[in-house]
Symmetry: C2
Subunit: 426 residues, 2 copies
């Protein structure tokens, strides 16, 4: 029986979940994995929370040194979130030659390269399955299952808050503001929802996934980011008519024109497996050159699902102390200068215009499309509304620059109309 | 750079896929994994096939000793299928202290306990990701991600042939015989389809999955098995009307009454994520006590998807030579005598009867249901057909024994009718 002393930094949702899972399954891990896993210390300032789940004072510390200096501890779980304290603490822990398991996507995304180099120096591991997709086994799948593939593309619903909001708008026909309020009431969205709805959270996660998938560092700063704040119920409903479902997709593609990485609201065919991923669920759809299509689906957040991923890493770390793997790419702060990032990405586009109800308007607009080589796949003109005639256009595959130029030119036409919404179609 | 000499046993669909993936990605694995992976020898008797994919004579051998005695080979891929030769060959390879990666579910299911003990003795690894679900990363997910969970249930579509046949029957309204013929023409089904359609293949795979999920040996002989040979288009179509889709499900449940393991045609709600898994795709739906619901989806067979799983194992084996993991349970031939297997499993049931068009028949039938404590959830009587009145009944949750007793008693009633089909509903 191998003894595994564990410390937990932070006793929020994830930290308390990890504590409870480890406590409840202690005998199982002894029997199945020959591991005696014991939580030795918990770093927290909110003692009341600890008492509520049966943790007594002897486990509680407030000084990281008490963990670093404890030789009985070999694995430390970081579940604090944020950057300020966690970066210092994780650095100290790795330097004290203990492996770290973290659920902190912002920390790993922004400082993973520094932390990994410290881990390497000290011959300990740094594990981060819980940073993306909650309980979904996506990190280890990329590291230990699909690693023989050249990954062609990743499409992910990797933010539960925005997926909840978009699902609610679609299924209950409510506005963005109402859906957000409900998400906040249920605890799915924070009071300040910026990180989720403006897609910062998704870019951190996509940076982690795309780096593993394409085996080259993809800094989050390279990722095109567009959140769901501007999304209108009108477009969701037009999408339904056209057979599309709107999702905030994290997209990574490795094409002959370079690497595309982007997070934005995207229409996908309603028959696509990702379209039926509802509420706070997450899913990641991967296309590899050998494996073809693989999809992983599950709960993208929550005390026990994320706790499950952390505990999986703890047991893995305990079982693999002799052969620790690191990133299958040069893990630097910046991208490899030889890698081409393509931000003029190719896509089909949905556009909603409100145009004037006069003859010749359609001819002017289609002339502009033609000028920029944009081929129209579908065009629907609806009944005259209060502010003009709604015109819905879906294009064939074109590229970002062409579309932006065309939109600018249409909007500058006098007495013609206005492009109200542009949504990429994948 | 670590040199990894590989041998491949068998050059059928999987073996040639593995060879091609390793050859094509050689430089990638050097760069990303610091592994120089080289196929040194291939055991095959069909040289022509080898020549077709650019393999020259110097790699080809017909005697296993040439592989066992080659010290430059550290990992051997078994892709022969069948039992007779593969069991002897894998045994010899493990005894020569080389790790084995196999895609052979029948071999691993029936002899995995013997082979694992030989691997342990010789301090080498035995890897089998490719035995279940083709390219889907299900084995490692159970071993290295969800291992902290008590798994409550597994529901899997793990046989592509039968899923192709059932999808075709449903979507194109064709008979079982026609769908099977088409599957045979396309190479999805073998000339003798017994192993697939009678669900032997699925029981081997479920044995492997359930043992990992429940952390106790589940011999395939403990699995209730019912194939799709008896499935009628009539029932598929009635199911559609009721909101159900028919799938050949591999089911494992760990309940308070014991472990249930069974493979049989099953109606699931058409809104369930497994219902939209079509054609030759596979998917496995797992419920863990911490992670809750997780689903993995992908191509369950084929040269490159299965090759992807094999190559993933080869790279994993090469990276983890110092800390090899074995099964998280006592891997014996038989089940742990302390484990209770419950074959009187609880389920809802769909039944189709053809009854006589006379008064009192329904009263007699419902009296029998009542006698066996079977509660009816839904009852539809359709128009009189040629042979009687079709009566479709869906029950609330009951158990296997009650249903069998009731069916027997109904069928023995004079001048009443006959139970034409019984399908479990999950």
């Amino acid at each position: 029986m191998k003894y595994v002393g564990v410390a937990i930094l932070g006793l929020g949702v994830v930290g308390s979940g990890v504590y409870e899972i480890l406590a409840e399954h202690k005998e199982v891990y002894k029997k199945s994995h020959n591991l005696d896993v014991e939580v030795r210390k918990i770093l927290t300032r909110t003692k009341e929370k600890a008492y509520q789940i049966g943790i007594t004072d002897e486990l509680l510390v407030t000084n990281i040194d008490e963990i670093c200096n404890d030789d009985s501890i070999s694995i430390v779980v970081e579940a604090m979130g944020g950057i300020t304290a966690s970066l210092d603490y994780v650095t100290a822990v790795l330097k004290s030659k203990k492996s770290v398991v973290t659920s902190n996507k912002e920390l790993y995304c922004k400082y993973g390269h520094i932390l990994e180099s410290i881990a390497k120096e000290n011959k300990v591991g740094l594990y981060y399955e819980a940073t993306v997709g909650g309980g979904i086994p996506i990190i280890r799948t990329l590291l230990d299952n699909l690693q023989g593939n050249n990954v062609k593309s990743i499409l992910g619903i990797i933010n539960g808050t925005t997926n909840y909001i978009l699902s609610k708008m679609l299924n209950e026909n409510v506005s963005y503001d109402n859906a957000l309020s409900e998400a906040q009431m249920l605890g799915y969205a924070e009071k300040d929802p910026t990180s989720d709805v403006d897609a910062y959270d998704s870019t951190y996660k996509l940076s982690i996934l795309a780096s593993l998938a394409f085996k080259t560092k993809i800094p989050y700063t390279k990722i095109y980011r567009e959140g769901i704040r501007g999304v209108s119920l009108i477009d969701i409903n037009y999408g339904t008519k056209l057979g599309y479902t709107l999702k905030l997709l994290a997209i990574g593609k490795n094409t002959s024109n370079g690497i595309e990485v982007r997070v934005h609201p995207t229409f996908i065919k309603s028959s696509h497996p990702l379209a039926s991923v509802n509420d706070a669920f997450n899913a990641i759809f991967i296309k590899g050159d050998s494996v073809d299509d693989v999809m992983l689906y599950g709960r993208g957040a929550g005390k026990f699902p994320t706790g499950s991923a952390v505990v999986g890493d703890v047991l893995y770390a305990a079982a693999h102390t002799d052969s620790i793997s690191y990133s299958p790419f040069e893990n630097n702060e910046n991208a490899d200068p030889n890698v081409i990032f393509n931000d003029n990405f190719e896509s089909a586009y949905y556009m909603r215009l409100l145009v004037n109800d006069t003859t010749g308007v359609l001819a002017k607009i289609t002339a502009i499309f033609s000028k920029y080589n944009i081929s129209v796949r579908q065009l629907n003109q609806y009944e005259n509304g209060n502010n003009g005639v709604p015109l819905i256009i879906v294009t064939h595959i074109t590229n970002e620059k062409n579309v932006r130029n065309a939109v600018e030119e249409i909007n500058s036409l006098p007495n013609c109309g206005h492009v109200e919404a542009v949504i990429r179609v994948d």
